[in-house]
């Protein structure tokens, strides 16, 4: 199989409201930065995959609306509805098909333009669930309670994630919510849907991200710092919340296992140097670290309490601040790929972890309460 590398990375500044730019101008900003990072022009892009969501965008066929600003005029452009990691997966497979040498992948959303509870309520089945008025926050609160109760994980353990990631976001020039918090601050923040409090919940941001993927021969011509895609997989669980055991993430376990196998990772602790994962809520970072196999089931709270996931820990998780630092929906997973790749290149600035990053993991989620997971293993070699 051909090897593929990330050769260009661009992301906007993420903020609660980027009212000075339209959705299209936001995408153009990220694409321009990614091409500049790669040191190539749009003519060297063989095909484009945009990632978007019609409800968040307030228009149908939203992916086509950002074709122009992704450099799609006169090119082969296709789209994915969902998280950016899934868009990148499609972009990768297009290169592996043998038809394209490079793919530009974009993802964006302007959360400030809509009402997030209304948009996320529309993700629920219109016959069996939507009339209940659930949204992403209340549904994930049901998951949080189930997970915490089953394993005896405390709300303070979850608060540690919030403290860590908001703190890490202070080093991220693109983050929206860098904050120095204490566990007490998180515990005393306003209860939104128990057990989730304000600082357990990621903000909704305006932001965009773009990456350039290239087949090995093209990658070597474009850059002397390619970040190789070593393993990638995704897997989905059942749709209805009541069909799943919300304290488990079997889809993530399966996706991670397949990605590790593809990358030839045998000893996680020795071979994965950091992870950028989808912490839309503080409890999710703990649950996903279990699903990724960083610790045993039910040990996510202990993992963070022991400092393993801190920036200077054994397996730093979200040194960028993660989604708690900034959460442009749809773009959030692609940003995880971007941040993991920057760490591998040694270009993460103040976010750069101390140890050499040979392999990094990036993770994205699609659907409510982590219905579907996409796991990427990136590496120096």
């Amino acid at each position: 199989m051909d090897r593929v590398a990330i050769v260009g990375i661009g992301q906007t500044k993420h903020a609660a409201c980027r009212k000075e730019v339209s959705y299209a101008e936001l995408v153009y900003e990220a694409v321009t930065l990614a091409l500049k990072d790669a040191g190539i022009g749009i003519s060297e892009i063989d095909n484009i995959v945009t990632t978007s969501n019609d409800f968040w965008d307030g228009r149908t066929i939203s992916c086509m609306a950002t074709g122009d600003v992704s450099g799609g005029y006169d090119k082969n452009i296709s789209c994915v509805e969902g998280d950016g990691t899934f868009g990148a997966f499609y972009g990768l497979t297009r290169i592996l098909s043998g038809s394209y040498g490079t793919t530009l992948v974009t993802a964006y959303s302007k959360g400030s333009e809509s009402v997030s509870s209304l948009i996320t309520n529309a993700a629920f089945d219109p016959i069996y669930m939507r009339c209940l008025g659930l949204d992403m926050v209340s549904a994930c609160a049901l998951q949080a309670r189930r997970y915490l109760s089953r394993y005896g994980i405390s709300e303070e353990d979850c608060a540690l994630v919030s403290v860590k990631n908001h703190g890490n976001a202070l080093d991220n020039p693109n983050a929206q919510l860098g904050m120095k918090l204490t566990v007490k601050d998180v515990m005393n923040s306003r209860m939104i849907a128990s057990p989730l409090k304000l600082y357990d919940i990621s903000p909704i941001s305006d932001g965009a991200c773009a990456i350039v993927l290239a087949r090995e021969d093209r990658a070597r011509k474009i850059t002397d710092k390619p970040v190789w895609v070593k393993g990638v997989s995704f897997c989905a669980d059942a749709y209805l919340l009541g069909d799943r055991d919300l304290s488990e993430c079997r889809a993530l376990e399966k996706a991670a296992g397949a990605a590790y196998k593809m990358a030839g990772i045998r000893n996680l602790k020795k071979e994965i140097d950091l992870a950028e994962i989808y912490d839309a809520f503080s409890y999710q970072e703990l649950l996903w670290t279990e699903g990724l196999g960083f610790c045993e089931k039910g040990e996510g709270g202990k993992l963070i309490a022991d400092g393993a996931t801190a920036k200077d820990g054994d397996i730093p998780v979200n040194p960028s601040g993660g989604l708690l630092g900034a959460h442009p929906v749809i773009a959030a997973g692609l940003i995880r790929i971007a941040e993991a790749a920057l760490q591998i290149r040694g270009d993460a600035g103040a976010m750069q972890i101390k140890k050499d990053v040979r392999n990094a993991l990036a993770h994205g989620v699609n659907g409510v309460c982590g219905q579907s997971h996409c796991v990427w293993i990136l590496g120096q070699n």
Partner: protein
Amino acid sequence: MGDFWSDAEAIIHESCIKVPYSWQAGETASYFLTQLRDEGKIWGKKCPCCKKVLVPPRKSCPFCFVATDQWTEVSDEGVVESFTVVRRDTIIQPKKAPFAYALIRLDGADTGLVHVLGEVEPEAVREGMRVKAVLADDRKGSLLDIAHFKPVGS
């Protein structure tokens, strides 16, 4: 671009999307909802492969990808497997905050049903609590024909 912007007014185009839509429930959900509306009964459907009784019922099993073949009536009582007390109002929630959502495993069902709790103080809600469906007076063939679940014995 930055220089330009410093003097320009940001135009915000306010709008609202409202599109009529007719979701067709299909034969399986239609039977479930008409039975709930007319008889006050809750039905699940059993998978011939994994033998799970799915509530709400589906025409095919999400786990085995085979057609479900057996209607099975389940109890209107069950156990709270998880819950959340919502403390903020949104325009789509059917009750005013604070109130609780719960994931309920009805007796005889193998999957959970999400619904709202009523006739209970939010502070008194617990996992493992037994609850019973309270039917709405005016039933329309919707999941809200169950007004809410209340603690058994209250």
